[in-house]
Symmetry: C2
Subunit: 306 residues, 2 copies
């Protein structure tokens, strides 16, 4: 691999930025990586683990002379950071972010950035339930999707360079417009996470089933709900607050469907349940046929070896 950006600034040093730093260093994608985080402890850990070449105390210092600036803070903090770094950005620099919601980031960050700076939001669809600087690993983006959400009129050369950068980190890229991005992510990611959080909350709240039992028998389907529900609370709070419209819409559809099934259970309508459960098999088949399921996760019910 060869250098894609001379100097890269990572604002925030958690799972995503840490993984980017490690992957960039492994493959020599940047000549220098500067990192910053609000907590001194996080900065120390980042240096110790080699997530970046050097750290600065402020975001303003970090972006000095940077060719690529990566905003890797919770979506709700992006606007504040943009305001802080704006006067210090190099002319011609590319600013990107890694947030899970894009309309809010466009509106929160865009207005602060000066002319001559390119803003190209992205969304690497990768993560684990771990967070913080210790959580990063260079292979995080391997074979994952990174959605590229350029605003109207963005510079084609810089969009293409950023795509090349994400591909060098291991990701597949796809362009999407902002509204569609927020809706697709509500369906495939945000609502599944909210549901998992809720289910875990319910189990914990039941006094007649002990925590010990829930834990012991979790492999029956419940266990991966808990994994999802252990994801970073700040990040997910911001996702739901900033993707409110799409989230509430899909949630409305979800409860509508759930009530229909609940009613079928209450009235004993076995045909409706059977038809519904048969129908949902089709999507699963589609995923297998599309080759999107080559890995082991299976809600803990054991992987079949044939």
């Amino acid at each position: 691999m060869s250098v894609i950006y001379d100097r890269v600034a990572l604002i925030g040093l958690g799972l995503i930025a840490g993984s980017m730093g490690l992957a960039m260093r492994r493959d020599g994608l940047a000549r220098e990586i500067v990192g910053t985080a609000r907590s001194a402890e996080t900065r120390d850990v980042a240096v110790e683990l080699g997530l970046c070449d050097r750290v600065t105390e402020t975001a303003a210092e970090a972006v000095e002379g940077a060719d690529l600036v990566v905003l890797a803070v919770p979506v709700g903090a992006m606007g504040r950071v943009a305001q802080e770094i704006a006067p210090h950005l190099k002319r011609g620099a590319v600013v990107t972010d890694v947030g899970s919601v894009k309309r809010a980031v466009l509106e929160g960050v865009g207005p602060h950035l000066p002319e001559g700076v390119h803003f190209v939001p992205t969304h690497p669809m990768a993560g684990t339930e771990h967070s913080g600087p210790h959580a990063g690993f260079a292979e995080l983006f391997q074979n994952r999707w990174c959605l590229i959400v350029p605003p109207e009129g963005a510079d084609e050369t810089e969009i293409a360079r950023l795509e090349r950068f994400w591909q060098a980190l291991g990701a597949h890229t796809e362009r999407m417009d902002v509204e569609h991005h927020d809706l697709v992510c509500a369906v495939v990611s945000h609502i599944p996470h909210l549901i998992a959080y809720t289910m875990v909350g319910v189990a914990d709240d039941l006094r007649r089933v002990s925590d010990q039992e829930v834990i012991k028998f979790s492999a029956a389907g419940f266990r991966d709900f808990t994994r999802i529900a252990a994801s970073d609370p700040t990040m997910w709070r911001d996702v739901f607050l900033t993707n409110k419209e799409a989230t509430l819409e899909i949630l409305g559809r979800f409860t509508e469907e759930l009530f229909a099934l609940q009613r079928a259970i209450r009235t004993g309508d076995g045909d409706q349940l059977f038809d519904y459960f048969t129908h949902t098999r089709a999507i699963r088949r589609g995923i297998i046929e599309a080759g999107q399921d080559t890995e082991a996760p299976d809600f803990g019910r054991g992987t079949k070896q044939k």
Copy 2:
């Protein structure tokens, strides 16, 4: 291993019974395994794959002289099968089942069985999204839980022998009373499955997000919902119809919680979301500390190597 039951009859030859047959033959736990299924095709496949030593056309023939009879049909069909086999059961035989619901099985099967036959329901908490005779594999029960739900007054010697049998198949056993079993399973298994079915149904029903997109980006959290939602429709229909009370109760709690979170999103109450998401981390930690998560499934978001 040594023989635990001389002759075992498997009624129904799907994923669970097929796996039991293969494991019994591997370890020599029975001198003869007789199987039956309603479909001639299933019986042929069972012989071909060696799930049992011989097959019979009817359940009545299969149980002749059997020391252990395993009812491995959907919960809704157990009563009918019990009625059919009752006159043909050997005195002193043990009848068990592998259904996911126990109150309905006790009530549906128990009254048909003659005196001198021991009825001890069990529930192996193991499975995959595959079903049918091709789906079985001998390792299915390895390190899984099998709940033993003996009715009042059941013979202690026979309960202990059946526990030894399940342990020989690889499972850990635990005794539970029937009402508690149905509640625990509603929490850790039945409701998570219903939710997964619902979420997949919602995604499929949305016209603005293409199936292709849902499939492509499913690793963001959605994918393992589809795996769960591909489970056997007949089995799950019967689970919900026969565990109605516990299912509706937990479902009520679930929607209550979900509405509280939905309201927090609508009103922008970030603190409530943050507190909720922080709280759910505790259960996850408990599962890791209890050593219940040693495998790879992680909602497809990549396994961290450290």
